[in-house]
């Protein structure tokens, strides 16, 4: 297990913070860490900052994320990783990042002058990283319409002319990603999706994150359109932590 001292803590949205710390391994956009709070559990969290210092952006969802969100500058953050593959570097020209919920955290290292964005959240207070984009290039959506388009990421996507993007990168709830996948499939556009499944080991042996025999934690989390085509489990069923199969 590695640990680093937290250098800074910034509240970026409701119950959502960015923690920065030094870590001298190379990390690529899309990779994640297993973040451990001793005595409280360990969860997968993407690197939202891959330069120096590194950073994670994490939302308080429940028992295991809460103690991480509660950490303060000067305290230790324990983690192992980086794990997983990464997004391919965008080609020259414009590209689109679509982040649903905390999904935008894993896309954050890809934000640049050429990046367009769709950020969707439940409500205005849950939105973050809008300000990292050029104002004219980003669309927000909220379920309750408190900010931006009332609706979801797919609703926003439908308003855009996808021809102008070299690549599309997506991270968010699986249902949302499935909707986007189905929408762009006929359009023949290069797109990458970062999948999220319950993870226990993060090293490709426990099978809790697998989709059609592929371990998201190791071969993924980032998959292109071709891989997703073979994933009959994508957007349909998944295993719970017990291994029980449920519909998504």
């Amino acid at each position: 297990m590695n640990f680093s001292i937290i250098l800074s803590k910034e509240v970026v949205a409701k119950n959502t913070v960015t923690l920065k710390f030094s870590f001298d391994k190379r990390v690529y956009a899309g990779q994640f860490a297993m973040v451990w709070t001793p005595g409280k559990g360990e969860i997968p969290i993407s690197f939202s900052h891959t330069g120096d210092p590194k950073g994670i952006t994490i939302k308080n969802y429940g028992d295991m994320s809460a103690p991480i969100v509660a950490l303060n500058a000067g305290e230790r953050i324990f983690f192992r990783g980086p794990y997983g593959n990464s997004f391919t570097k965008p080609k020259d020209g414009d590209y689109l990042l679509i982040g649903g919920g905390s999904g935008i955290a894993s896309l954050a290292p890809m934000i640049s002058k050429n990046a367009h964005g769709i950020i969707s959240a439940r409500s205005m207070e849950d939105l973050f990283f809008l300000d990292k984009f050029e104002k004219s290039k980003v669309i927000a959506t909220t379920d309750d319409g408190s900010f931006g388009i009332k609706g979801n990421a797919l609703d926003a996507l439908r308003t855009l002319d996808l021809e102008k993007f070299q690549n599309i990168y997506v991270c968010g709830p699986e249902k949302m990603m499935k909707g986007i996948y189905d929408y762009i499939k006929p359009k023949n556009i290069a797109a990458e999706f970062s999948l999220e499944r319950p993870m226990k080991c993060a090293i490709g042996i426990c099978d809790s994150c697998s989709v059609n025999g592929i371990q998201i934690c190791k071969t993924g989390p980032v998959f292109g359109m071709d891989s997703l085509r073979d994933f009959t489990e994508f957007g349909t069923t998944r295993l719970m932590l017990s291994g029980k199969r449920v519909n998504i």
Partner: protein
């Protein structure tokens, strides 16, 4: 060309390398993919009567020479596992259902359901906590082991393998108690612990876990040798197999087939084909025609 085919009980295997229980065998699609990628059989995750989420994370510690895990027998419960078996069986190679329980009745009930799902054999995970006595495992109580196997053999028609725990003083008394099994599987993980000295706490949420991988290979070889020598039973060797050399070490100690788990962490599932190819090369080089010719040669 030598043949790497082997047999364990009545089950014929394309090669000696099965997938060990608990590694990539909770989701039917994963088992199917592993069968399609060179494993001669898969053993499912150990399944119990009731659904269990298992221990909370962390459930794994990476060491330079192995892993410590405390998954905590997470499983969907036998009644929710049929679909996974059905998917796995599409891999067209044997699927072995691993089960755990604490009484003979529970084992019988689980085994009957597994048999019904169409598995080719049952593997008894005898390493779960024993309720009657306490502190120790089902697999450290010879009378209980004997009774479980006797019951099972009278009630089910597919072969029964007994997977033994290495955390015992006297493996022979357990092996003898399990002698009605069609084969013995050795070894399960070795109890261990890892403490994070900066967090000042055991890493695993369960504190204790099971050591697997390289570190335990020579412990496993010792158990296989000792039990083969004293009982002559058919044995499936497991524990720290990473290369064909490791595999041959187990075979020469007396194993007729093998299981691999932790190595997948290092080498991915391509390891199955790699092991088969390397084993064939070794046999070619050393002039062995069959696996059974090598089995137990170090005993004489």
């Amino acid at each position: 060309m030598p043949s790497i085919r082997t047999k364990i009980g009545p089950i014929s295997l394309e090669n000696p390398f099965m997938l060990a229980s608990g590694i990539l065998d909770e989701n039917g699609y994963t088992m199917k993919r592993i069968l399609e990628n060179g494993a001669s059989a898969v053993v499912t995750k150990s399944i119990g009567t009731d659904e269990r989420t298992g221990y909370s994370t962390p459930v794994i510690v990476e060491l330079p020479y192995g892993l410590i895990n405390a998954i905590g027998l997470a499983n969907p419960g036998i009644d929710n596992f049929g679909e996974e078996i059905k998917i796995a069986l599409k891999g067209n190679r044997p699927v072995i259902g691993s089960i755990f329980g604490s009484t003979p009745e529970e084992f019988v009930n689980l085994a009957l359901k597994m048999e019904n799902y169409g598995v080719n054999a049952i593997e008894l995970n005898l390493s779960c906590p024993h309720v009657k006595g306490f502190g120790s495992e089902v697999g450290s109580d010879p009378d209980l082991v004997e009774e479980i196997i006797k019951e099972l053999k009278s009630k089910i028609n597919i072969p029964v393998f007994s997977k033994l725990s290495p955390n015992v003083t006297d493996i022979l008394s357990i092996a003898k108690a399990a002698e009605r099994s069609d084969a013995l599987v050795m070894i399960n993980t070795v109890r261990a612990m890892s403490i994070d000295i900066y967090a000042r706490k055991p890493v695993l949420s369960n504190k204790y876990g099971g050591l697997s991988g390289q570190a335990i290979k020579n412990i496993g070889v010792r158990y296989v040798y000792e039990v083969k020598k004293e009982t002559g039973q058919q044995i499936v060797g497991v524990g720290g197999i990473e290369t064909a050399e490791d595999a041959v070490e187990y075979i020469m100690a007396g194993a007729s087939a093998l299981q691999v788990g932790t190595v997948i962490h290092k080498k991915g599932i391509g390891v199955f084909k790699e092991l088969s190819r390397e084993l064939e090369e070794f046999m070619n080089h050393e002039g062995y025609e069959t696996v059974s010719e090598m089995t137990g040669v170090a005993l004489s």
